[in-house]
């Protein structure tokens, strides 16, 4: 019964990391052991028996995590019943369960579950198997780091987690009298509220992830970056679309702004629809620069016909951007800086009457610098497919 008692404690250990407790010293554990049975075959009765005990024991916050823990434990029982004490199979099951749990429980629940699961199995199999202990510790640490990286964690609970497996490994067999509550967990209403709050935030971030394109980042900071860029981009689109409704030649000069893209070069390509460009092919000006531009222009034009996204990426890789002709003329006539040296036009000869401009980024660096000082704009006077083309530029994942 010793191993079973230890595992029970591991299961209840949202409050308790020192897992070497004798059953008679804990009323709760007595209840557990008396009422529940651990058959090798899974029975829903034990599940339901475990549940209310759990709900009574661990105060509030994240009930589903308890359920996951009990589920975890039940699987352990099954394993142990089925295979005696085959440590590696148990380990495999544990890792699978951890993965499952990682999918099920968002954010911080992971750390607690993984740590306690690791600790539980570790103590069960005794401290003798040093390699496995090391593995479990690393597992605990791995999940810890992951959760810390993911959502800016509360370090007290993490510290406890890190201490947990090592402590369990250090004294596997020694019976300890006292049950020490994990610091800041479940006894402190503030920490419970904190945990709840974090869980809710994680849920909402997940739903935001589906909404925002390019949202495969696990890091909270970069996720917020993406969100910010997307919101800015949408607002800009609304602004420009409201100008495009005017149907006249637009002085789109106020659109040129400095958009500092924080966090990584793979940012949103903000393309605004300034639809008020004249349809007549205004821009047949020869490039005022050397021939090297024409080649890239033709390439870009070709790319544009097939896929706007890659065209824009290609442009960005060269440090170029698109802008409407009227704006470029305004800039070139108004300012003769060396910062904006080259203005050239590209007129695609497709049936779609598109007029673009290429302008070198005033930053001067040809690489994909995040500091494009001119927006990439694109005329929305493209015909049928063109508007969708503009859309595809702005949302590369569409």
């Amino acid at each position: 019964m010793q191993p079973c008692s230890r595992e029970m404690q591991a299961m209840n250990s949202l409050q308790d990391l020192q897992i070497n407790v004798h059953a008679p010293h804990d009323d709760f554990l007595e209840q557990m052991l008396s009422t529940t049975s651990f058959p090798a075959s899974s029975s829903s009765s034990s599940w339901s028996d475990l549940n209310p005990q759990d709900n009574n024991a661990a105060a509030a916050g994240g009930v589903h995590r308890h359920e996951i823990l009990t589920f975890n434990l039940r699987q352990q029982q099954q394993i142990n019943g089925g295979h005696g004490s085959n440590p590696f199979q148990a380990m495999k099951m544990m890792m699978q369960q951890q993965q499952q749990q990682q999918m099920m429980v968002a954010g911080f629940g992971r750390a607690t579950v993984a740590a306690t699961a690791a600790a539980g199995v570790g103590t069960h199999q005794g401290g003798g198997e040093g390699s496995m202990q090391a593995l479990f510790n690393s597992l605990g640490y791995g999940s810890l780091h992951q959760t810390q990286a993911s959502f800016g964690s509360d370090s007290t609970t993490e510290v406890n987690h890190s201490q947990g497996p090592t402590a369990a490994a250090a004294m596997p067999e020694k019976p300890k009298q006292k049950v020490r509550a994990r610091r800041g967990q479940a006894t402190d209403p503030h920490s419970i509220a904190e945990r709840l709050r974090r869980v809710r935030i994680a849920e909402r971030m997940k739903s935001l992830q589906e909404l925002v394109p390019n949202a495969n980042k696990t890091d909270k900071a970069s996720m917020l970056d993406e969100i910010i860029d997307y919101v800015k981009f949408l607002q800009l689109q609304v602004k420009v679309l409201s100008m495009s409704r005017l149907g006249g030649a637009a002085a789109v000069a106020p659109l040129v702004t400095d958009m500092p893209f924080e966090g990584g070069g793979d940012c949103f390509q903000t393309s605004a629809n300034s639809g008020s460009l004249p349809r007549n092919s205004n821009g047949n000006r020869t490039p005022s620069d050397n021939e090297s531009l024409t080649v890239s222009e033709h390439q870009v034009a070709k790319l544009m016909e097939e896929d706007m996204g890659s065209a824009m990426q290609y442009l960005q890789g060269k440090g170029l951007c698109l802008m409407p002709i009227s704006l470029a003329t305004a800039i070139s006539t108004a300012t003769c800086h060396s910062r904006n040296p080259m203005v050239s036009n590209v007129n695609t000869n497709t049936g779609v009457n598109v007029s673009h401009l290429l302008l070198q980024s005033s930053g001067g660096d040809g690489s994909s610098s995040p500091s494009l000082s001119a927006l990439t704009v694109q005329s929305a006077t493209m015909g049928n497919g063109g508007v969708d083309g503009a859309a595809s530029v702005s949302k590369p994942l569409d």
Binding site: T156, E158, L208, G248, V387
Partner: protein, 187 residues
């Protein structure tokens, strides 16, 4: 995610109504003015489509109605529903007070947590986590400036409002773009 067509239709209806109303008033407007009115009517239509259920919509409407010249437009679009400005101002004040209180409580928690941190945590971990928290906080500040009325929201509300705001912005963009293409294809 595909926004509901009902939302699009609602937005379109209100926007067209607002455009009609404001185009009757002035015949010769400069480009910028026209752009402003168009954008404003679109924004207000978008916000009113939410019927005051979300905070950003209320903040948007209250910001618009604060300005005297746009007030007329706001009233026209909102129709007889004239009590919303009052509701929004009280709501903002209430949320501001609530957020201030929350900030105080949060700061006390942070102080307590920091004390615990110094005792227990390895110094490396504390530094890295504080750096990440700092980064996240900075970005959250930026997000607050973007979302209308976002300065008075706490973190959870901010993310919810962002969700809603993004969907409505997308609806707005889609509708405007389709209208624009329709106009241009005809001419």
């Amino acid at each position: 995610m595909c926004p509901h067509t009902s939302l699009k239709q609602q937005f379109l209806k209100k926007w067209i109504m607002g455009l009609q109303r404001c185009s009757f008033s002035k015949k010769n407007m400069s480009i910028l003015e026209r752009k402003k009115t168009i954008k404003l009517s679109a924004d207000i239509a978008m916000a009113s489509a939410r019927n005051g259920t979300t905070r950003w919509s209320r903040a948007l409407i209250s910001n618009a109605s604060k300005d005297g010249s746009d007030n007329r437009l706001v009233q026209q679009i909102l129709g007889p529903d004239s009590n919303t400005p009052a509701a929004t101002t009280t709501n903002k004040a209430g949320t501001r007070r609530a957020s201030v209180c929350k900030k105080i409580v949060k700061r006390s928690h942070q102080i307590r947590r920091r004390r615990r941190k110094c005792v227990a945590a390895a110094p490396v971990k504390a530094v890295t986590s504080s750096i990440s928290e700092h980064l996240v906080r900075k970005r959250r500040q930026v997000l607050k400036t973007l979302i209308p009325g976002g300065e008075f929201m706490d973190e959870i509300c901010l993310i919810e409002e962002t969700l809603d705001y993004i969907t409505s912005l997308r609806v707005q963009v889609d509708v405007m773009r389709s209208v624009a293409s329709a106009c241009f294809s005809q001419s």
